[in-house]
């Protein structure tokens, strides 16, 4: 299950009336939105939306029924158990992409308009303040850094220095490979805000 589906499912389950609706779905062989809405004493549209969401998540199945003038859907459970499983590692990007990022040559951009605040011991950067926009639209964005990120930025080549690869800077800063995703993340953020330039 990808994160978007998981979020949708979470949203469905968090509804006040979700438990009662599932009870109806287990009890009834099939049920329409209007039947469920009348049974739960809530608006038909509310129930319909939830049923459709559960259908799109393949938890329910629906059948179009023709009775009288207008066709409508009857829903029944497709599964007897709901399991939510999210692969969190997938957020750090593909391995191949990581390798490319590690070889990226970077350095601090000239006149980037960024303020680096060093830690009390002055051996890593504790936060970065970035100013964006001009005049009245000028805004400040402060990013607090983790210790590995702070050490990485502490070793970032100066604006007039030779570019260095992310991998080399990590090596200089003695950062473990397990911290690689967060390093790549801060590099991406700094590139986005124009604080780091790439070759």
């Amino acid at each position: 299950m990808d994160f978007k589906e998981a979020a949708k499912l979470g949203s469905c389950l968090s509804k006040d009336y979700a438990e009662d609706l599932f009870r109806l779905l287990v009890t009834y062989e099939s049920i329409s939105s209007s039947e469920a809405a009348s049974r739960l004493n809530i608006h038909i549209k509310t129930v319909q939306d939830l049923m459709e969401d559960l259908f799109s998540l393949q938890i329910l199945e629906r059948e179009e029924v023709y009775e009288g003038k207008r066709p409508y859907f009857r829903y029944h459970l497709k599964v007897n158990k709901i399991t939510m499983e999210i692969e969190l590692k997938s957020f750090s990007g593909k391995e191949k992409n990581k390798d490319t990022r590690l070889q990226l040559k970077i350095r601090e951009r000239k006149n980037a308009g960024v303020r680096f605040t060093t830690s009390r011991s002055s051996d890593y950067i504790s936060n970065v303040v970035i100013w964006t926009g001009e005049g009245r639209n000028r805004s400040e964005r402060k990013i607090n850094l983790s210790m590995p990120q702070g050490r990485f930025l502490f070793h970032l080549p100066f604006p007039t220095a030779e570019f260095g690869t992310v991998k080399d800077i990590m090596k200089k800063a003695r950062i473990d490979e397990t911290n690689m995703p967060e390093i790549i993340d801060i590099v991406d953020v700094m590139i986005e805000f124009g604080a780091i330039e790439t070759l």
């Binding site: 303020r115 060093t118 002055s122 051996d123 502490f154 007039t160």
Partner: protein, 272 residues
């Protein structure tokens, strides 16, 4: 040997403030009251100023400030006990003679220390030395400190090195839990440092040696603007770190004279 100057010329006269203050006090008192009172006020000024010099000596262990304390104190006494026109009659006439002899000896001592640059705050020398053979490269300034390398020393050696740099007015040490931070002080900044040590440290360049051997450098915007041209900031930080790493290596080998020689060899003025 000639070294091209990278720093802007120092035209400030902060070092002359005590002498000018003394002249003004003497002149004002002379105009308002008379010669005797003017001489007494100048004598009092010198004796008070001797106390200030002693205080600087206690803080820096620099012998030239002890010499200044001795000279100023004796000069203050001399003014009021001159053999021909004593303002205060000494108990014994020989005392006036002894004061004159002591004044001459301390003057020679003070001049020796002054002209051999032992009384000079060597911040400018440090920044000149760091800027040697650096290319011009604009827009390179950043507020970030820079790791300058790793070297070997024991904590005890570092402490002794710090005392050496302080004693010779090369850089003033600030002791922290896990490191010592050295702040080079220029002649024109000496009073600011002496009067407000912690405030002075803010926004100044520093070189830090931690107890694991890591050296970190930070050059302040103020000091960077002190250069005539926009030098490559990265190289400048690197060089400043190298200068101090070289210094501590000399010190560990017992070659601390080379540190003084390298700084004096630059040939900067005695008062700049």
């Amino acid at each position: 040997m000639y070294f091209p100057r990278k720093l802007k010329q120092d035209l400030r006269i902060i070092g002359l403030i005590p002498a000018m203050t003394c002249i003004i006090i003497g002149a004002v008192v002379f105009v308002l009251t008379g010669t005797k009172e003017a001489l007494l006020s100048v004598a009092a000024f010198y004796i008070i100023y001797a106390g200030f010099s002693l205080w600087i000596f206690i803080r820096t262990s620099n012998q030239s400030y002890f010499a200044a304390f001795v000279w100023q104190f004796i000069f203050g006494i001399f003014i009021v006990t001159r053999p021909d026109y004593p303002l205060i009659m000494p108990l014994d006439h020989k005392i006036s003679g002894i004061v004159v002899v002591l004044l001459l000896v301390s003057t020679v001592w003070l001049f020796y220390l002054f002209f051999t640059k032992k009384a000079k705050w060597k911040g400018r020398e440090i920044f000149e030395l760091a800027s040697m053979a650096i290319e011009i490269h604009p827009d390179g300034f950043t507020e970030r400190p820079r790791p300058a390398g790793v070297t070997t020393y024991s904590k005890d050696e570092l402490m002794r090195f710090a005392a050496f740099l302080r004693r010779n007015l090369i850089a003033m040490p600030f002791y922290e839990d896990n490191r010592i931070v050295f702040v080079p002080v220029k002649m024109d900044d000496a009073f600011k440092y002496l009067l407000s040590r912690e405030k002075f440290r803010q926004n100044r360049s520093w070189i830090a040696f931690d107890f694991q051997g890591n050296v970190t450098v930070n050059i302040s915007h103020k000091d960077y603007l002190g250069y005539k041209e926009e030098l490559s900031f990265d190289q400048l930080c690197e060089n400043l770190g190298k200068v101090f790493i070289r210094f501590i290596e000399y010190y560990r080998k017992g070659e601390e004279d080379r540190i003084i020689y390298q700084l004096n060899e630059l040939g900067l003025g005695i008062t700049s």
